[in-house]
Symmetry: C2
Subunit: 564 residues, 2 copies
């Protein structure tokens, strides 16, 4: 197992200490982090201890060492560099660290692939094969050895990304480190640092050194800072310089808006909400000012050279995604998608991994077309969508408007869902918004896994429903996506500890609890059940009598406490 002494991690020492006020996070009740080992690959899971003799239940776990709570000193030191030995070995053997796509195409199963195979309960060969085809990516910059490998592709569990990052108006480094820990606690599979305010470089450094999940960025934001906020002063040199700076820090994937072409821009003219992507609008301004083609497009191979060196993956940005229901699936959006298909081929030629970003705001009946087109045009490269929001009319609740679209688009084949928080369109999300956004998207991703018939996905639903049926309240809470919220809601009306063993809740009370009634009936069945033959022989009236004599208890099935 690779781990690094705090003292080796020099980068954070150069920065003024902003995390002194952060309290350690604790694990969830009755949960512990366990590992499945295969040689030097140690794959984390969360094991939830259940009561009443039920076997403990394992779930996919994203919070890394934050799980056990990390002190301020540990935050300063950064996480252990678990992938460092694998990277060092490859560099010793091949002269440099190649991309996961390079290895996959040559039939080589990397440690990251073995890690993922255990994590996803699939064969290492499936992982390698999907990566080799470009149908899945493993976003692992070798300068971010702290990350626990994960995979993004339609044959695997649907993933969730959480955006964090400050703006010129709001937030500090401590806030962002706190949001990072919070995001992975609730289950974010990757995070994006979208900082555009102060201390962009330092904020990113703190995040990377403490992130157990891949980190994405949109480098054009920092490039724009470097040219004092004037889009027209951007050029490929300052952009490449920015890419190298961020790649050296360890960023695992870059959103790059290379598909916003000069000829696409007039297609947005009739739109209700024009260009809503920050990166897209910056590049549109550049293109029009110079009346030249987007330099990210014309110099795309130069960019590939940087990506390849670090194994940074492309997240090809959809700078022209629709920002309203009115603009969904329009010519501008699909013209850009065609360009992203072109760029996918170029990236693959360089053994660079690629995923494709998608919308945005799309009514339900137009969602499927997005996935089908993307899959065809981008030859199966993983799709990574923001929502989509299925209506524009609910600012303050866009985690919900978009979870609806996200669940559906996940079912149709999207590999990763970029969360939307309740603050979308209104302000910078705080810590609580991050939690609300991540949980809404864990719901969407899991619902998509169920609908896709993903092997094993339903086991957690079944375990939780069984706990519910059997009045194992604590087990029900602990198996849920947010045990703390579930417990808090139950406590609101029935705070006494004894209520956690009660055969009813405040919703219906003891008399009207369908669970209680059917539980009573089930107990009778367990002691008195007749075989079908016996029942037929004795006749129906006798069964009725047996039921009455048994105290009126007869199995009719389980139940949970619902209204009506």
């Amino acid at each position: 197992m690779s781990s690094t002494k705090a003292s080796e991690n020099k980068s954070l020492k150069l920065i003024e200490d902003p995390v002194g006020t952060l309290e350690p996070l604790g694990p969830f009740a009755r949960s512990r982090r366990v590992h499945v080992e295969d040689g030097d690959v140690r794959v984390p899971f969360r094991e939830i201890e259940l009561s009443a003799g039920e076997p403990s239940f394992r779930v996919y776990e994203t919070s890394g060492p934050h799980f056990e709570g990390r002190s301020v000193d540990e935050l300063r030191a950064g996480l252990p560099k678990l992938r460092q030995p694998w990277i060092d070995r490859r560099i010793a053997k091949d002269g440099e660290n190649k991309t996961q796509l390079w290895y996959a195409r040559r039939g080589i199963v990397t440690e990251e692939m073995r890690f993922i195979a255990i994590r996803e309960s699939v064969t290492p060969e499936l992982v390698r094969d999907e990566v080799a085809k470009g149908h899945a990516i493993i976003a692992v910059n070798h300068k971010h050895p702290e990350s626990e490998p994960m995979i993004i592709g339609r044959r695997f569990l649907v993933k969730v990304n959480a955006n964090i990052g400050n703006s010129a108006v709001s937030s500090s480094i401590a806030d962002e480190v706190d949001k990072l820990r919070w995001a992975v606690k609730w289950g974010a599979d990757t995070i994006m640092d979208l900082s555009t305010g102060k201390n962009i470089h330092e904020t990113r450094e703190w995040i990377l050194r403490n992130s157990p999940v891949p980190v994405g960025t949109v480098p054009i934001y920092q490039a724009l800072e470097k040219v004092k906020g004037k889009p027209e002063d951007l050029n490929i040199d300052v952009f490449i310089e920015t890419l190298i700076e961020q790649a050296e820090q360890g960023v695992d994937y870059f959103t790059i808006h290379a598909g916003v072409l000069l000829r696409h821009i007039p297609l947005t003219r009739g739109r209700t909400t024009g260009i809503v992507s920050r990166g897209g609008s910056i590049l549109a301004k550049w293109c029009l000012h110079h009346h030249k083609e987007n330099f990210l497009y014309t110099e795309f191979e130069k960019i590939c050279d940087v990506m390849k060196k670090y194994d940074v993956s492309f997240s090809l940005g959809d700078g022209l995604r629709p920002g309203s229901i009115a603009d969904a699936n329009d010519d501008a959006q699909f013209a850009e998608l065609a360009t992203l298909g072109e760029l996918t081929d170029i990236a693959w030629k360089h053994d660079v991994q690629v995923m494709i970003e998608g919308p945005g705001h799309v009514p339900m009946h137009k969602i499927k077309e997005n996935v089908e087109l993307q899959d065809r045009i981008c030859k199966g490269a993983p799709f990574y969508t923001l929502g989509p929001l299925v209506t524009d009319i609910a600012p303050g609740y866009d985690h919900i408007t978009s979870a609806i679209g996200a669940a559906m688009i996940g079912w149709f084949g999207t590999a990763m869902l970029c969360y939307v928080t309740p603050k979308e369109h209104l302000g910078l999300p705080n810590k609580q918004d991050v939690r609300d956004g991540v949980i809404a998207y864990k719901i969407a991703a899991h619902a998509a896994d169920l609908a896709k018939g993903h092997a094993g996905a339903q086991a957690r639903d079944d375990a939780l429903s069984k706990a519910r049926f059997e009045f194992r309240w604590e087990d029900q809470f602990n198996l849920s996506l947010d045990p703390e919220k579930a417990r808090e809601f139950h406590d609101e009306t029935l705070p006494a500890p004894a209520a956690k063993g009660a055969h009813f809740c405040s919703m219906c009370g003891p008399q009207f609890c369908s669970m209680k009634i059917t539980q009573d009936l089930k107990q009778y069945a367990d002691s008195q059940a007749l075989s079908e033959e016996e029942a037929r022989a004795r006749g129906l009236e006798e069964r009725a009598q047996a039921f009455r004599e048994g105290g009126g208890d007869f199995y009719v099935g389980g139940a949970d406490a619902e209204e009506e």
Copy 2:
């Protein structure tokens, strides 16, 4: 216009006053209640005043006279009886008040149908025709003349029901009246009083006299109280007595679990969560105790006689709906549905209106089958579903797990969506849970209207998105489903009044606001736009020069403030 003096409303006088502590609700900012008149039919809308010369925007409005705020004295007096003159006229003419289905089948357009036609922007003939076919219902007990007519059917706007009501463990009459006002403020189209605790009759009276929307109940709950909570002591007489008592008070629709047959009960034996419907479990217990067929089924025509007399609509309950993903779409559920199809024919024979209740817990890929089967088996009778929840693993967030399923099932044709609150499975919802549940379901219903291509549905999305693009923050808030939440979230990071005119928010700050960048570009276009011919003649370089000289502003389309 019919209105009644407070003194005429005697029923509330008999009850101890429980509403003394309630504060009046106020209207939303810059909103007023307006009416479209057609003779003695006065249809309410909410008109939202916009800024910048934009025409004011009208939305469907459900809160009735609560909109303007009602004092404690007005709550005691009850709402005006707006339908009383119509009912009186019909009784004078036909000797009794017939059902809306009776009138519709005879080609008679009632005042209620004319009211609904204006409310839904359709022809009265469409309303009459859909009711005549049984494809839509107008739930209007003539003893609830306070209600503003609305329609439930797949050709109309998708509706939302909010469940309120106390339990033995929690809540008071004042709490329930407050939840009623709150539910209709946020847009509930009907409410169900599911009280099972103290003062069932009195609570219902307060609710009915103050409800501008149809009220549903599950009469078996009160019938069970009358037999001291012993399901086996239930019988048709006590049930009919309860129906009459509640019909006399004015309940507009009854959930009746007449489809839970003795032979269906063993089909639930292998279930993970058995029978989760309170009504379903009570009747299952009765059937097994007596080993007889469900008396609601065998005596169904007696029940129809009561329904017909008052024009109470059936909501045929799905007592065997699945309570977990594991149990979705199973034999028990579909066996009951077949019985509900039979009962629909019997009700229609009596000119009684019918809708059909549906699940429950259903993974996304099994939702469509529910709607298709229900539509075929119940010959187009409106479908009314609880969610469905698309996963079991998120107690505390089941307004979200179920809004996903609700949006989809609404798109597929469900006419009314029964909300689920965040407290589902955990406790009795409070006022805030009612708001969260209603808003989540207004989102689902509106998303379904959009996906169905419902005429006019997109106008609100377009108006809000235009306001967003034009930085009309107050208009954006006021056009949203929850203006108070949207404003509160914006205030959290930028509380200064001036920020409501700012061309950015705290999410991205001024530099990175895609809206601002593209707004700048649009302004340029408005002054400098070239026709395509001119542009071609002048050549591209000249356009670029024009752009630069114009200060770098050129239209590329609108934008909203999103991340990336």
